[in-house]
Amino acid sequence: MLYREAGQFKSTYAADQQIFPIRQDRVAFAILLVAAFVVVPLVANQYWFSAILTPLLISALAALGLNILTGYAGQLSLGTAAFMAIGAFMTYNFELRVPGMPILVSFVLAGLCAAAVGIVFGLPSLRIKGFYLAVATLACQFFVLWALQHFGWFSNHSTSGVITAQKVVVFGYAFESAASKYLLTLAIVSVMALAAKNMVRSETGRAFMAVRDMDVAAEVIGIPMMKTKLLAFAISSFYCGVAGALYAFCYLGTVEPEAFNLDLSFRILFMIIIGGVGSILGSFLGAAFITLLPIFLNVLFGAFSHLSGFDIPHAWLSNIELIIFGALIVFFLIVEPHGLARLWQIAKEKLRLWPFPH
């Protein structure tokens, strides 16, 4: 009833091609942005900022990066965490070695470094596909961590290979509180998500999808294979690199190369599989599912054993959480193999017909 586009006429091409063609969507999204930028900083406490929202946004950004490569361009990658590591360590080095370097410029340069490495490790994609490519990107994952641990330069010769993020200062304002770091992360993620959304609607995005759907056909209609695939690797790695930089500078503060191990790559891959492969929104939904659900289960069981007074051994609870988490993943994949984003889309379609479905 409320969600209906009747009476909304489009008189220009621009109006027809905007991201949210339906007015209700635009209003809802504007409300969401206002909530994220204004309401949340007013009501949330530090726990929410530093333990829930900031890591959620950062994982969403990394998932978005992987989604560009895997979801849109169809190149399976297991090296996401390695690109994040490059972003984190290179930002640290730019800040350390170049006096007076603005942090945002460091983020961009670190992202470009990640992109350069991404291009190098994207080269095999010109010859190999699918699972074989995944194995090649696995090499990237191990090689990058190995390099970060074995060349002291990257961690400024710290014995344990751990780096400590410098202060985040933009135009003289120091981002120190959890709320300000959340806002900085949110701003960066919003801008990059908008850029990604526009990119996938552009010629580049269409070329990516053509390569994904059938690369021989794409080549026949004149899409340059090398340029498109390497561009996908570069853009994806850039996003992951910036996410890694934010992970170190706005979230943990101190990171070791091991924090960016294969487990993290898999987690991000699961995020896009659960959220929706080939969907910007899906990256966010998947990140929310994978990062929040375990915490939610932990809190829920904690509250349950507090209130009920049941004396369940904690080792059981921890394992039950994992079992439920796994079961939910399987459940969602069976019910909707295209991810949460597809569920959301179906819900919207149903809503447009409600309350008079034919």
Binding site: A51, Y251, T254, N298, G302, H314
Partner: protein, 441 residues
């Protein structure tokens, strides 16, 4: 839509969760952020059990510390940095005075919490792990790598080897292999060993075992070629039994394999079976249930049908006892803080920090605690956040760990300058000014 309902549900659960601990004045909140699942669960669950049982024993036996009872919630960190930070953020405001202190029980989580703890004024206590250079309390006011850090332990190991060889001068020309886990934890002692090799004239070879360490054929082939006099095993998890089995296969005497304390629990040797017999490991706590403190836990907790360990045979193992040591330190720090800031009151993190920094556990106090020989005496100060620096060595006889030395002290003439130099580099990078310890009260 889905996201908002999920968020609302989380919020509701979180509210009820923290609402349970509404300001009841006489409670000291200690978060139990450990891990009960994953590849390192044997260590995590054992330590968690010992730590929680000891505090419950104090509550049951003495009614807490001067009437202030310990409370706490368990939070699963999965040995994962992000989960560890989440647990920390969740627990830090609980209870009447917030989190007393935090035992992150993971070097990675410790690193992530150093700055957060300092800002929130909550001490981060990393007993036997974490940053070695945090022993310099001038740079790290809120970080306490208590008892013994990795570097100190390493000097004690070389001392032990010297004793076995018949004097430190006999070390000249000896060959030692450092077989280490490929992680920050594993690499931590390389510079100390190099410094000692120079000082005593032995030859050291560093050989890395990539995580997780269940493939070591190449490494032991190399060791066979080197023919070292000793192998220092700086392992973790599955790497330890694998190393012992590979040593057996390579024909290397297990009596010459010397483990670090994260390589020296029952869980590390039992899977290796026969191959582990004769293996020696360092420890800052010993195993065994025959100490008054453990007997008190049996009497006041387990005899009443309570207690954390389902498998009662794990009481008195290395990991369990290590957890007890963790909590003895927690409780003693709170007691010390109460003596200054008011007996019978719950202490804030800031006050407990003072308690930790002025912690003094001498032989007399150990006797009162029922822990003579169980842990070492220690004295913490503003300069020295380590406080002990001693190690005992124990040998696996095929059935249990047998303590074979007294407390062996470390060589602070090597460790301290390195700690200070490394801490100074950290201070420089972060732009910190050193605390003046003479002004601390």
């Amino acid at each position: 839509m889905k996201r908002t309902t999920l968020a609302l549900a989380v919020a509701a659960a979180a509210a009820s969760f923290s609402g349970g601990a509404l300001a009841q004045a006489k409670e000291q909140y200690v978060p139990h952020n450990y891990y009960w699942v994953g590849p390192y669960a044997p260590g995590g669950s054992g330590i968690a059990g010992g730590a929680i049982d000891y505090l419950n024993m104090l509550n049951a036996r003495d009614g807490g510390i001067n009437g202030v009872k310990f409370t706490g919630d368990k939070c699963e960190t999965e040995y994962n940095n992000a989960r560890g930070v989440e647990c920390y953020e969740r627990s830090k405001k609980s209870g009447p005075t917030g989190a007393t202190l935090i035992h992150p029980l993971s070097t990675g989580i410790t690193y992530s919490l150093i700055e957060k703890g300092t800002t929130d004024k909550i001490p981060v206590v990393s007993v036997g792990y974490g940053r070695a250079d945090a022993s310099d309390g001038r740079v790290f006011p809120y970080v306490f790598p208590l008892i013994t850090n990795y570097w100190s332990q390493n000097t004690a190991k070389i001392k032990f080897i010297g004793m076995k060889e018949g004097g430190m001068d006999k070390l000249k020309g000896k060959k030692i292999v450092n077989l280490y886990h490929g992680s920050p934890y594993g690499r931590e002692t390389i510079p100390v060993l190099d410094a000692q090799a120079k000082k005593y004239g032995f030859q050291v070879t560093h050989i890395e075992v990539p995580h997780p360490g269940n493939e070591q054929q190449a490494q032991w082939l190399q060791i066979r070629q080197i023919k070292p006099d000793w192998v220092i095993l700086r392992g973790w998890g599955v790497m330890n039994p694998t190393a012992l089995k590979s040593a057996q296969r390579a024909g290397f005497a297990r009596e010459k394999v010397l483990g670090v304390w994260w390589s020296g629990a029952e869980e590390d040797v039992i899977p290796a079976g026969d191959a582990a017999k004769g293996y020696i490991a360092a420890g800052f706590n010993v195993s065994g249930a025959d100490y008054p403190v453990i007997r008190d836990i049996q009497k006041h907790v387990y005899a009443k049908g309570k207690g954390e360990m389902e498998d009662k045979s794990r009481i008195g193992t290395i990991y369990y006892n290590r957890g007890v040591v963790f909590s003895i330190l927690t409780a003693e720090a709170v007691r010390t803080a109460q003596e200054r800031f008011g007996k019978g009151k719950p202490m804030t993190g800031e006050q407990v920090r003072w308690g930790l920094e002025n912690l003094k556990i001498d032989e007399k106090r150990l006797k009162e605690l029922g822990a003579v020989g169980f842990m070492q005496p220690l004295k913490v100060s503003c300069l020295d956040h380590e406080g002990g620096g001693q190690v005992k060595f124990q040998q696996w006889d095929g059935k249990k760990w047998k303590v074979i030395t007294d407390w062996i002290s470390s060589d602070q003439s090597i460790v301290r300058p390195m700690v200070e130099a490394s801490a100074a580099q950290y201070a420089k990078e972060k732009g910190l000014t050193l605390r003046d310890c003479s002004k601390e009260k």
